[in-house]
């Protein structure tokens, strides 16, 4: 009995309960009818929204690789609802093309190494003034571990997609299965398909295990895009290029793929002593697929 009164009168929160909260409460009965929105009236909250959409029907944002709204669809302008289907498709196709160009264009090969060195043109414009001098300049700048590690990837590759890997993997499987023997077409198709995906995953996991700090799917994306030269090789095999002609052409194509694929090591944080064994899985992957194209 002696302790109970503190619950009713001595409670310090009672004053809060009684006075302040009561004032802050919004009673629906107090609301004025004029404060509420009239849905039928045009001057409601919707008016600026409509205006927004109309404003955004203007041309594409600065770079179509970047959305003006962060977190939205990465390449879409603000409205996709009233554009033609062809626009939607071509935007994705163009994005795939742009990524492929960034992976495979010689300017970006070896992590932009050729660009920094002045590239082929810079070597040819050099003091030698001859083709031999240009080649010697390139050979002299053959990348070592430092160059491989310094190279970064271009900005457009930061947001990965798996469209390119899927398309090139399917094309490679299809072209290789066309030249296989008639009872092994399905085996070759599924085998190559699995080989590509498992190979991409294993190579990426191996680089991560060696201490490389790379994003898994970004690496899979880049390796998938670098399959393009091998798709060309498979296409040449499908049209029955003679064996003798295949040897130099395929070596060049495999080297192209490898030089592009090494760029995933750029800025990955692999220790310099381990660059050799981090590149070797990529080498085995490309050479293995290249051999498969060769004997098809």
């Amino acid at each position: 009995m002696a302790m109970m009164p503190s619950g009713t009168s001595g409670n310090p929160y009672d004053s809060l309960n009684n006075t302040q909260i009561e004032q802050d409460l919004i009673d629906p009965d107090d609301a004025n009818i004029n404060d509420l929105d009239d849905p039928t009236e045009p001057t409601s909250d919707r008016a600026p929204l409509t205006g927004n959409i109309q404003n955004s029907r203007n041309p594409l944002p600065q770079s179509y690789l970047n959305s003006s709204i962060p977190g939205e669809d990465r390449r879409a302008p603000q409205n996709t609802i009233d554009e033609s289907v062809w626009d939607t498709l071509s935007r994705d196709v163009m994005a795939v093309w742009e990524k492929m160009r960034q992976v495979l264009w010689p300017k970006y090969l070896l992590g932009g190494f050729l660009q920094r060195g002045g590239g082929l043109g810079g070597a040819e414009r050099g003091e030698g003034d001859s083709l031999a001098g240009g080649f010697r300049g390139i050979a002299g700048r053959w990348p070592d571990a430092d160059v491989v590690l310094q190279g970064g990837m271009s900005e457009g590759l930061r947001d990965w997609d798996l469209w390119g890997p899927l398309v090139f993997c399917l094309l490679l499987s299809l072209l290789l299965s066309m030249t296989a023997s008639s009872e092994q077409k399905t085996v070759v198709f599924s085998g190559v398909f699995a080989l590509v995906w498992v190979g991409e995953a294993v190579v990426t996991a191996q680089i991560k295990l060696l201490g490389g700090n790379i994003s898994f799917f970004q690496s899979v994306c880049i390796i998938g895009y670098t399959l393009f030269p091998l798709v060309v090789a498979a296409l040449l095999s499908a049209v029955h290029l003679p064996m003798i002609a295949r040897i130099p052409v395929y070596i060049v194509l495999i080297g192209w793929s490898l030089a592009a694929g090494i760029s995933i090591l750029g800025g990955s944080g692999v220790v310099k002593n381990r660059v050799g064994i981090a590149v070797y899985p990529l080498f085995v992957f490309y050479v293995g697929l290249g051999c498969l194209c060769f004997i098809s």
Binding site: T179, A180, S181, Q184, V187, V188, G191, A205, Q206, K208, L209, L210, G211, V271, N273, R274, V275, G276, I277, Y280, P281, V284, V287, G288, C291, L292, I295, S296
Partner: protein, 265 residues
């Protein structure tokens, strides 16, 4: 004097919220001199706390994290090359070269290399043996066969050997020159190095030459295996150790014969 000091203490107290030093008069100088750079005094405790927590986080390795498996790949390029070379030209015991740091990089990628080279040269060998009046079509099953043979042999036989050594070696001195599972894998994996040059040169249609090459490959890798396994196996009873070594050699002969007749027939 005391009154003035008291005011200063209250002032510092408001800003730093440090109640522990307010009751000590001799702390006054320290606090007022520290007052200007409160930012640095707040950062230092954080930086001293960080290292212990990070080291304790990395020392805990869970089976499902990638960092757990990274310990099996803690090798440099020079290590791998040195191990490959010493598997071809054995001078010191291989377990000494491993030096308590067996890696799985070598076994996996050597096996992968052998698989692709066997597939390629096996196909070339079939191409040379085929009749040239019709178009040659390669056999894709050769690749899956090579993968099954090499990966299977390199993965399963070391497990069996390790298990048998655990079983029979348990009666003897525990821990005495026993072989770990990863070491066992590394030993078998690096023993595969010899198949790379052997497979590279035995695509020719000359049958006698292929027998010689495969026999050389078998001899080198079998000698490598028995030499390095003998100190480990011999801790068991004499009869058991002899049977184990014979089993290892017979299994390896099986691999060599399979390579010869599947790919270079």
């Amino acid at each position: 004097m005391a009154n003035r000091g008291y005011d200063v203490v209250v002032d510092v107290d408001d800003h730093e919220g440090d109640l522990g030093h307010t009751d000590l008069q001799e702390d006054l100088e320290f606090h007022s001199s520290n007052f200007n750079d409160t930012q640095s005094s707040k950062i230092t405790p954080d930086s001293t706390y960080q290292p212990p927590s990070s080291t304790s986080g990395s020392s805990k390795r869970y089976l499902w994290t990638l960092s757990f498996y990274a310990q099996f790949f803690a090798v440099d390029t020079s290590h791998v090359l040195h191990r490959c070379f010493s598997a071809l030209v054995p001078r010191r015991p291989f377990l000494d070269i491993l030096d308590g740091n067996p890696d799985l990089y070598g076994p996996f990628w050597i096996a992968t290399t052998v698989v692709f080279i066997l597939f390629l040269t096996g196909t070339i060998s079939q191409y040379l043996a085929s009749h040239h009046d019709q178009a040659f079509i390669y056999n894709f099953k050769l690749l899956s066969g090579a993968a099954g043979l090499i990966y299977g042999y390199t993965a399963i036989v070391p497990i069996a050997l390790w298990g048998l050594l655990k079983w029979f070696g348990s009666g003897n001195a525990p821990g005495e020159s026993s072989i770990g599972l990863v070491e066992s894998w590394a030993l078998y994996g690096y023993a595969n190095v010899i198949w790379i040059p052997v497979a590279l040169i035995s695509w020719s249609p000359i049958s006698v030459l292929n027998y010689v090459f495969v026999a050389v490959g078998f001899t080198v890798s079998a000698v490598f295996l028995t030499r390095n396994l003998w100190p480990v196996v011999s801790v068991t009873e004499a009869k058991v150790s002899r049977i184990l070594v014979i089993g290892v050699v017979v299994a390896h002969a099986g691999l060599a014969i399979a390579i010869k007749f599947l790919f270079f027939a």
